[in-house]
Structures are given as C-alpha cells and as structure tokens.
C-alpha cells in the first residue's frame, strides 16, 4: 500500500492546478494557460493510476482511507476512501478531464484561463464526491461542483445559455437541499455522527426510512436524471460548450447514480425494497419512452442527451434488482457511458466547430469529406447502440441478464431499448454521414486534425478494450458489490 495520500492528491492537484491556471490572467497568455491546464490534468490523472494498480480486489471495504478531524463542533471529518464501486469513477473523471482540456484546445479562444480552470476545479470537486466517506464532506463537494458547471454553461454556452444555466443550477440545488436535511436527520439519529459507514449500520424504522429514501431519491433522480425530472439535461447539453457536455454526460450524471449505491441502498434497504417497483418503473419509462423521444430529435446534441437519459435508466434499473449481475452491469454501463457519450459529444463538437450547426438537417454526406472522422464516429455510434465488442454492449447485456432473473417483462421492456437505441443512433448516423454532400458547408469540411484524431483514438481504444475484455473493470467491483448486497439484504428495522 502506498503511503501517499493519493485520494487527497486526486482531489487537490486539479483544484490547485486550476487556481494556478487562473493566475495566468488574460487571453494574451492563453497558450501558457492551456499548457498548464494540460500538465495539471495529466499529473492529476497519473496520481490516480496507483489507485487501480494497488487496489486489493479481495477487499470489499474502503481502501486508501484518510481520516482527519475537520469540524469537531459537529463531528465532521475529512474522511476519504474508495472501494470497488467508486475507484473506477475517480480514474474515469481524471481521464475525462484530460480529454476536456484537449477538446477545448483550439476551439475556446475567449477567457481561456478561466475555462480550463473551471474544468480542473470541477474535476477535483467531483473526485471529492466519489471519495467522501463523511456526509457533510460529500454534500460540500456535491453542491460546490455546481458552481463551475454553472459558469461553464453560462459563459461559454450557446444562445439560450442563461436559461439553461439557471435551470441546471436551481434544479440540482432543489434536490440537494432536501438531501441535506436527510443528512441532518441521520446525524441526529446516529447520536452525532456524519460518517457514511456508520450510517450503513444504523437501525431505522420503516417510516423514516421511506422519508429518507424519498429525500435521497429526489436529490439523485435530479442528478441522474430520471424521468420525470430530466428536463434540465437536454437544455444544459444543448447550450453547454463541447467540454461542458462531455463532463456533464461522462461524470456529472454518474454522481446521482453513485449516490444511490452509497446512500439509498445501504442506509435505507427496507425502503429500497419497498419502493423498488417505483424506481424500476421510472427507469423503464426512461429506457423506453425517452428512447422514442430521442428518435424524433432534430438536434444532434439533444438526441445524444436523451440517449444519455435512456442509458442512465438502464443504470438505475440495474441497481434496483438487488442482484450482483444487475449492479455490476449498471456500473459497467456507467463507465462505458462515460467513454461513449463523451466521445459522441466530442464528435458532434467536431462537426459544430466547422459548420456551426447541430441540426441533423444541415448535414448529409459528411463521409465524403471526413472519412477518418466518419469511421471513428461509426464506432461510437455502434457503441451507443450497444453493439457487441463495444463497451456499450457489456453493461446493457449484464443488466438485461439480471432482469431476466428478476422479472421477464421488465427484461423484455429493457431489451426492447436495444432496438430503439440502434434505431436512433444509426438513423442519425445515416442522415448525417451518408448520402450525397448536402450543401456547401459540408462541401467545405476538412477531416479531423491530429489533436482530434488522438482524442477519438484514445476513447476508441477504451471503448473497445472494455467491450472485448471487461474483466479488469469487473474484477475490482465484485467484492464491494457483494458487500453492498450483504448490507441491502439485512433489514434495518428493529
């Protein structure tokens, strides 16, 4: 075991790097700001690698734990740790940050330092969310991470950015404020502890459990987002700059799903069983209904945004079947969605930078002008549709397999989404990429440059690796998922 406080480094290196980037000041120093941001992101990624290589797969508990007193007045601690559930997300987050910094390299020309700093700071805050083992520490990171994303959407976003930024902020704040009250309730019930691990052992009667579960559900459902509180996401995605969309889809959506595993299931297991039908129903609506909504979108970003909601429906579905297969499948789906949706938004960004339109109707025949791009975009579209040998397949397959054991009709509805997913992904691809060159904008397109190729290639490797050989990803989860299921299986009513 390493003696370095790796988790603290994973949180604070990007934040400090972000503050350093801010000091470069105006856009005269933009090249320096970009370079510093990239160095910061790469260093932050490198320190997360040992989390995986030194990870003890047989241990289902918390690893790399750090514990220091923070606010003794309320017994709040700076308590960090990762298990098989959270570890991959820390690495994914650090990895996506590099992609985001690279994705904005030539595209963002205004307020470059602030742009990169916002992403770096957000990356650090989100690592904080994934690693916090103290309720208040979790909440502080959870809410603080809204600030950079609010600024990213509002400052570098599209024409309707102000509306989208406010909607995003207020929606998520609404969810998290009730969550805060739930944390305080647990603090009182546990006799003055904010430790999440303590709460996992806390006996609570069914009535309060249901209220706690509902408070958690509102907070996390908004963040995931689940139907019917998903409406902020398409707005936020459409208006956000490419980097913002990537982070939003790849990492921010995972926070809500992660919250279910860290709070809802282990703290309120009886209520989770009691209300699982509700969550499964909402998930299936997301998978099927939102899939159809995606089908009719005219805006590519909106289409991928709705497809994200549908994919996250798979994740919540997997969680609430209470089987190892379902939860692991959902976790694989989360990581995979991080790569695939990030890549999809980047691809759309590549086209948008050249044509300044995201309307499907404005494209057609792109393959004639951008063959390399078309090939890579194809791969990600297929992964989005869940084609075997891509990462998208593994997670969905595992969740459906889990669902078959749970209830045939649930599995049937979930499986139908494979068809819908293929329909909206491939149909969009067909309309944009194939056919004759549609107009002079497409005529003037140039193929992707080295930077763009590198970004897509890295993401392609990750997608294929996870699709062909998912073992390294799933083996770290086993012990922790079993541990979690053990918690969920024991009633807490006394």
């Amino acid at each position: 075991m390493s003696t370095y406080p790796l988790l603290s480094l994973a949180i604070w290196i990007p934040i400090v790097a972000g503050l350093v980037v801010l000091t470069t000041g105006g856009d005269r120093n933009a090249p320096l700001a970009r370079m510093l941001a990239l160095i910061g992101a790469v260093v932050a990624f490198l320190v997360t690698i040992p989390l995986w290589t030194n990870f003890d797969v047989a241990n289902g508990g918390m690893q790399f734990v750090e514990l220091k007193t923070w606010i003794p007045r309320f017994n709040i601690n700076y308590h960090l740790g990762v298990d098989g559930i959270s570890m991959l997300f820390v690495i994914l987050n650090a990895f996506i940050t590099i992609i985001v910094v690279a994705a904005g390299w030539e595209v963002i020309e205004q307020k470059v330092a602030q742009y990169n700093a916002a992403f770096l700071i957000m990356s650090g805050l989100m690592n904080g969310i994934f690693t916090s083992l103290d309720g208040v520490l979790f909440y502080v990171f959870f809410e603080a991470s809204l600030i950079p994303l609010y600024l990213i959407i509002g400052v570098w976003g599209g024409p309707n950015r102000v509306y989208a930024a406010f909607k995003f902020f207020l929606y998520t704040l609404f969810g998290s404020l009730l969550f805060l009250l739930a944390l305080m309730y647990l603090f009182i019930q546990s006799g003055g502890s904010f430790s999440i691990l303590e709460w996992h052992k806390l006996p609570i009667a069914l009535g309060p459990q249901i209220w706690l579960f509902l408070a958690f559900l509102i907070a996390f459902a908004v963040k995931v987002p689940m139907w019917p509180v998903h409406t902020w996401l398409p707005d936020a995605h459409v208006e956000a700059p490419t980097g913002g969309s990537i982070v939003l889809a790849a990492i921010a959506l995972k926070l809500g799903a992660y919250g279910f595993l860290r709070f809802s299931l282990p703290i309120a297991p009886d209520a989770s069983h009691e209300l699982s039908t509700l969550v499964i129903a909402l998930s299936l609506i997301a998978v099927v209904y939102i899939g159809f909504v995606a089908l009719v979108q005219a805006d590519m970003k909106k289409l991928v945004a709705y497809s994200s909601i549908a994919h996250m429906g798979f994740v919540t579905l997997g969680f609430f079947m209470f089987s190892a297969m379902g939860i692991e499948g959902a976790l694989v789906q989360m990581v995979s969605h991080g790569f695939v949706s990030g890549a999809m938004f980047f691809c759309i960004g590549v086209m948008y930078d050249r044509v300044h339109s995201r309307q499907i109707a404005d494209y057609g025949g792109v393959v004639n002008k951008m063959p390399k791009f078309a090939a890579l975009f194809m791969l990600f579209t297929m992964a989005n549709a869940g084609l075997p040998a891509t990462s998208g397949f593994v997670g969905e397959f595992m969740v459906i397999l889990g669902a078959v054991k749970f209830n045939f009709w649930v599995a049937f509805a979930a499986a139908s989404s494979m068809v819908i997913g293929a329909a909206y992904s491939l149909w969009m691809y067909k309309r944009v990429i194939f056919g004759d060159v549609a107009n002079h904008h497409v005529e003037e397109l140039t193929d992707i440059n080295k930077r763009e190729f590198a970004i897509l290639a890295v993401l392609a490797v990750a997608t294929l690796w996870m699709g062909i050989y998912p073992q390294p990803f799933t083996e770290v989860m086993h012990a922790s998922v079993n541990d979690l299921l053990h918690h969920v299986a024991i009633s807490k009513i006394q």
Partner: protein, 492 residues
C-alpha cells in the same frame, strides 16, 4: 448625603468609557484638522476602536460580572460580540473613507464621531442587563444612524430615507418602551435577571406579561428588520449613502442579536413558548417576503435589503428552536448557531457593500444591478471576490454562508421542527435565484461601462481579504463556531 454612594466597579465598562472619552476628544481635535482628507480624524477613530479591542482583551475575565447596580453586565458573549463589533466598524470605516472623501457634504469629522457614538450605543446594548440600559443604548445607536443617513444633505433620497427611518424608528422605540412598561407592571422590576427570577418564582400576571411581550417582540422585530416590521429596511438601505448603508447593514445586526438574547433568553426564557410561537411566524414571513421581493429588485442595495430581511428571518430559526416543550437541552446548540449565523452574515454583508463602494467613484454610485454587468471583463479578480460573496450569501459551500445555514438548520432539525427546516430550505432555493443573477450579470453579460475600477490600493486589499475570509472561514469554520458555543456556554 453621599453615605450610600459606592463607587461602581468600572472595569467591566472600561472599553465603553474609553470610547466616550476618545469620541469627545476626536470631536474637539477635528476642529483643528486642516487636512481636507481628515487623515488625523480617521486614524484616531481607528486607533480608538483598536484600543477598545485591546482593553476588551485585557479586562475580560470570562466570568459574568454585573456592575452599576446590575444595570450592566460583562460576560463572554458580550466580549465576543463586542470584539466582532470593533472589527466590523474598523472595516466599515476603512471601506467608507474613499467614498466619504469623494463627497463634499459627508467629508466631516462628525461622520467619524457619529460612527463612534453608534458603536458605543451598540456596546451598551450588548452589555445591557436592564431595560433602561437597553433603551439608552438603542437610542444612542438610532439617533446617530438617523444623522448619518441624512448627512448627505443635498440628496433628496437620503433625506427622505432619514425621515422615514426616524419616524418608524421612533414608533418602534415607543412599542418597545410600552412593552417594557407592561413587563415592569407585571414583575415590578426593570432588571433583566430580576425579571427572570420573578417569573421563575411564579405569581406573575400572565395576561399582562403576554401583552407586554407582544410589544417587546414587535419592537425587537423592527430593530432586526423582520417581516412585518421590515418596511423601513429597503427604503433606508436604498436611500442612505452607500457607506452608511454598509454601516447599518452590518454592525447593528450584532447588537440586535444581543438584545434579543438579553431580553428574550436571559429575561423571559420561562415564557419561551409564547415568544417562540411569535418569532416562528416572523421568521417564516421574513424568509418568504425577503426572498420573493428581492427577485423583483433592479437596485442592488434594495436587493441586499430584502436579502438582509430573509437572512434575519433565517437567523431567528436558531433562536426559536432553543426550548422544545419546556426542555432547554438544545438551547446552547440553537443560540450558538444563531450567533454564528449573525457573525457570518455581518462578514458577508460588509464584503458585499464594500464591493459596491469599490466600484463607485466620485459622482457615480454603483448601486444598480446593471452596474455589475461584465465585471469579469473589467476586473476578473473582483468578479471572483463578488462571486464568492454571492455564493456564500446563497449558502453554497465552500463558503461561510453554507456553514451558517448548516448550523442553524441542524439546530432546527435537532429540535424536531422538520417542517420548519423544509420551509427554510425551499426559501433558500428561491433566494439562490437572485444571487445567481448577480453572478450572471458579472460573468455572462458584456460590460456596459468599460471604465477600470478606480479604488485605491488599501481598499482593494481590504475587500480582497474580506472576500477570501468568506472562503477561508468556509473551509475552516471550526474556530468561530466553537468560540460562539463556548462564549454562550459561559454566559447563559
């Protein structure tokens, strides 16, 4: 004739005595000051306040000491509040200096002397253990503030604000006095600890007491500026010269908190059921009207006025949850979180008005929300400071405002008032909207006015320190939190 005359113990009131002497001296010395910038007056004022703080440190015993026939009390709560008071007034005087120098009508020695007398009034309020002491302190504060608001004689708005403040302030003082006289009638004493003893002993006419209590609470509510006694706040905040608004919007909140503690908690704790029920209504109404009305404002000072109303409403939540069903187990937790909230609020409020002063210059008041447009382009650093202040006011971590809200909310939840906590967070959500709008104006919009900020270096450094303190204390709130808890533990 003087056989019964005993020289009172002057030590507990040493800072007050020092302040009086210095204020009178400065009034004289200022007559001789030729310098148009009044550097000597300014420096002496600041030194006086720092001297007060030093004396406070030196004379603080940590024990509860009564003097002047129990009319005056010195305990850890008063020591702590007074130290924050001196600090706030020092900051306020620094912030207002440039503003005052730029404005002919206000650039007088009286400005500083009035501020010192107002400070004295607040000190007396904080240390009062007698209805008359409270009243004297309150009037000294109020009369000084009326004069300060009206100081810019050429401004019609300021004069109107002063007039309104004076009339309504006099009415509130009347209500307070009426309530006090009722309570005197019921208990036969004006001494706060004496009233507590009488009430504890029983046999006091409950009807008269409750009658008096209603007037007392109304008077206090006026001074705190909570709904429905809030009408003066927006007009006075808007109309007063910004440096005076800064003064009114910061330090007096500490004193108002202190008299609420003295009157209601020290004196009338046995009637907690009655006044808590009244304060709950005031608190919820303040959060509702404060937050909703703030959304409609276009003037930044008016918006901050409504925000102040909602913040005071939130602070009251800490005070109403002290006693639950006759059980005072949670009292310390609840009152110390309210105290922490007030201190945090004063820090944020001072910083925000400091930013307005920083953006103002001779002949230009940066008090419209529009004036904040594109601040990020004009000065990224100060836009960042303002961003921190706004998110702190909205209660978003990592800023002190979050932990202020956190500590009050946990007191509410601990006392079992879950519905009140839910109401409070829902109104905070509404409140977040107008703070976010300020951030939107600074970051998302293009500047209408490209003039670089012209404030002096001292001002820039101080505002920066104030903003960074909001962030720093948001990451390390422990020290002030436990100071509040300890001070109240030793004082109640």
């Amino acid at each position: 004739m003087f056989d019964n005359f005993v020289v009172p113990n002057l030590l507990p009131a040493a800072p007050e005595i020092f302040l009086v002497v210095m204020a009178l001296a400065i009034l004289m010395i200022d007559l001789l000051v030729k310098d148009s910038r009044r550097t000597v007056t300014f420096a002496l004022t600041q030194l006086t306040l720092i001297g007060c703080a030093a004396i406070q440190f030196a004379t603080s015993t940590g024990e509860i000491t009564y003097t002047f026939s129990n009319m005056f009390v010195d305990d850890l709560m008063s020591d702590l509040l007074k130290l924050f008071l001196y600090m706030t007034v020092v900051i306020v005087m620094f912030y207002s200096r440039g503003y005052v120098i730029d404005r002919e009508a206000m650039n007088k020695g009286e400005y500083y002397v009035l501020a010192l007398f107002a400070t004295l009034g607040m000190m007396v309020m904080i240390s009062a253990n007698h209805f008359l002491t409270i009243y004297i302190g309150l009037e000294l504060l109020s009369l000084s503030l009326y004069a300060m608001v009206a100081m810019n004689r050429e401004s019609v708005v300021s004069t109107e604000a002063a007039m309104k403040y004076f009339v309504l302030g006099a009415l509130a003082s009347g209500l307070l006095l009426y309530g006090m006289s009722m309570i005197y009638g019921a208990t036969g004493t004006l001494e706060i600890t004496g009233i507590a003893e009488r009430l504890y002993g029983g046999g006091v006419n409950k009807t008269v007491m409750v009658f008096g209590l209603v007037f007392l609470v109304a008077g206090l509510a006026f001074k705190l500026g909570v709904v429905p006694f809030h009408m003066w706040i927006p007009d006075v905040y808007h109309g007063a010269p910004t440096s005076v608004t800064l003064f009114i919007g910061s330090a007096p909140k500490l004193a108002a908190f202190a008299i609420v503690m003295r009157l209601l908690v020290n004196g009338l704790i046995t009637m907690a059921q009655d006044w808590q029920a009244m304060l709950v209504i005031l608190s919820v109404l303040s959060m509702a009207i404060g937050n909703l009305a703030a959304i409609a404002q276009t003037n930044f000072k008016r918006m901050l006025a409504y925000s102040a109303i909602s913040h005071m409403g939130f602070m009251l939540l800490g005070i109403v949850t002290g006693v639950v069903g006759g059980d005072a187990r949670y009292a310390l937790n609840a009152y110390s979180s309210a105290m922490f909230y007030v201190i945090a609020y004063v820090l944020m409020s001072a910083g925000t008005f400091g930013m307005i002063l920083l953006m103002s210059r001779a002949g230009f008041e940066a008090d419209e929300l529009e004036d904040l447009k594109g601040l990020n382009k004009r000065s990224p650093w100060f836009a960042g400071i303002m961003l921190m202040l706004m998110f702190s006011m909205a209660g978003v971590p990592f800023f002190i405002g979050f932990f202020a809200k956190f500590s009050v909310l946990q007191a509410v939840v601990a006392a079992g008032y879950m519905w009140l906590a839910i109401v409070a967070v829902l109104f905070s959500l509404i409140g977040a909207f107008y703070y976010l709008r300020v951030v939107k104006l600074m970051y998302f919009d293009a500047p209408a006015d490209e003039t670089p900020l012209s404030a002096g270096m001292d001002m820039r450094i101080l505002v920066s320190v104030n903003g960074l303190a909001v962030a720093f204390l948001g990451i390390f709130p422990q020290v002030i939190m436990s100071l509040c808890a300890y001070a109240l533990l030793r004082s109640l």
